[in-house]
Symmetry: C4
Subunit: 205 residues, 4 copies
């Protein structure tokens, strides 16, 4: 019950964040195709942020699917994650309006970095409650994606001062790393369920 | 559980998309009836898009009702559909503000076409997971509506260059084709449930 | 399952409608108390519309609680109701900005009237599916509130041409009529449940 | 069932309130770091309100978790609470835009005070329905936080006329008081569940 409501609230916030970003795509004046041209950096930044929020929703979904118990720390760690994600429409709009200029592109990476840290803290809070031997702890394992992403964000933030195009490419790269489906948790859930099934099938006498 | 959350997130996004469109209906200055007159193309485009989003919600609802298992591809195919639908408020506003001018009316059809393709891809991803003999695969059958709509969108996009009134009429026509209730999935579900009931009623000895 | 998703989608849309109205309360320039003064008609219209949307949510909630089966007509009748309710932020903003002027106040009543008709159509669609003897049909009974409200809206629309203050008072009156808790459906549900309990308690031999 | 929908609607409204506040953080013109500087009071007020709404969601969540039955008064008391919370984006924006000036900072406290009163009324309505001996009544106990907060809000409102910095510190203090996890309800639920388990384990004869 408690878990359901945490998911419902997170889904609500993520759905709104992902949708209000589109309000930054202001309807242009003028009815010709060229009226749309000045919008392309905003559109590009919208697509990038849509991808990131989709990835967060997807991973959040899988992580909570493997979660059995919720406590107060998990609730607050989740709100902390939602706080940083709620700033994504702002930095997306700033980066898009300024055509991927240095400072906005760096700040975008800063928010992604803080969201990644918040996600890691949420993950730790959940593992602490479920136990080191829980399905989730096993499923996450070495978590190389979770470790590589913050490092890449820091590289992108630093390189935004030199050339924001590098930063943009890194943001896209990280998104693609995550888009490749992460079968770890799915596999572990299946394994656990099959294990349960096998145990249930064993003769009891 | 997984399916519930996919539905909840999609419902959230669709509910927000359908509602933020109304923000494009800006409160007019002036308190007389004629202050409302310049709003009619926006209102018309709002009604059209409300219909389309209602149809998508309805079909999405039926399709997922007949879905039993979810996987990673389905999650992403669903986000892909939501992406194109999230652009509907933008093209609705552009088309309405420019009184159904050529390019905005054509672009509206372009977004409808891409959403239709995304819906078809989601349908394929779901069928692939449930199996060719699943309730959903049988329910969809020949899917003439799903095949005719993209063709009509393409006709509408082309004809927008000549006369956007033709395109507008085609968009309305497609909406009406879908509004006529599609009893296929409902019927198939009922059939399956009755089949199950009949089997359960059969004497077991 | 189907009912749950209808409720979730309606809850989403109603929650968004009720909340985006507050965006019409634009943050005033100036930091003194008198900067707030020009906002009072908007605030008043916000309170009125919040009340109405709260009443609709409440009644919708009770009606669906007593609903057992959903079909395609119910889904569309529900979307039809949501369409008229989605226009409430627009007419609220127009009425508030123009200090309850004649035409905006009349139009507000027009949208309330159309929403009331849409609610009645939804109610009929639900009763048709559940059957004349269903819990819901018995619970609604003579439905005097549902019959008196549209009549009062029409009176308010007509009198808006003479004196919009009369219309405003009528809108408030209708809201108060509905605020007085409607125990009909609650009572009928309790009766049915007790009946079921009594039957279950009866000795079966 | 009824409780689920009350939670879903409240989650929806709270999720939207918490997210539309971010729309007040308008994307600045200019691509340099100093373009962000004028935004810091808005950002600060955003963080404060995010904290408050997070606390409300958290407490609401726990309170309803311990609730077993819903009635009409509870539905309306809940809508009353949501009404005051829906004004938080407005007062947040006003306070932030005016750099924590006297009147806006006082009004912010006024809305917090009215929301606190509405929360207390909701709590009373729920306890009345569950009974004085219910799990919730025991869990809340003396409710010192619930009693101290309104008193502190009143102090903050009064001191805003002298020095709004004092008010701001008090708002932060109250938030921190609530952030310290309130284990009362969690503990009481656990106790009740263990009690039930113990009773179930007892030999029955």
């Amino acid at each position: 019950m408690t878990k359901n409501r945490l998911e419902a609230f997170s889904d609500g916030v993520l759905a709104i964040i992902i949708t209000i970003m589109v309000l930054e795509l202001k309807v242009p004046h003028g009815e010709e195709m060229q009226a749309l041209l000045p919008l392309w950096p905003r559109f590009l930044s919208y697509v990038l942020s849509f991808l990131y929020l989709g990835i967060y929703w997807n991973n959040h979904h899988h992580m909570l699917h493997a979660t059995e118990r919720i406590n107060g720390s998990i609730l607050w760690a989740n709100l902390h994650l939602l706080f940083w994600l709620s700033l994504i429409p702002f930095v997306t709009g700033w980066m898009g309006e300024n055509h991927f200029a240095k400072v906005p592109t760096g700040l975008y990476g800063g928010v992604l970095l803080l969201a990644a840290i918040a996600y890691w803290m949420l993950q730790q809070a959940i593992i602490r409650e479920q136990g080191r031997d829980s399905m989730l702890a096993r499923a996450i394992g070495k978590d190389w994606k979770g470790k590589v992403s913050p490092a890449l964000y820091i590289v992108a933030i630093v390189s935004s001062l030199l050339n924001p195009a590098i930063s943009g490419s890194i943001y896209l790269l990280v998104a693609l790393i995550w888009l490749i489906p992460d079968r770890r948790i799915e596999r572990e859930i299946k394994k656990t369920e099959q294990g349960a099934a096998t145990n249930a099938d064993k003769p009891r006498g």
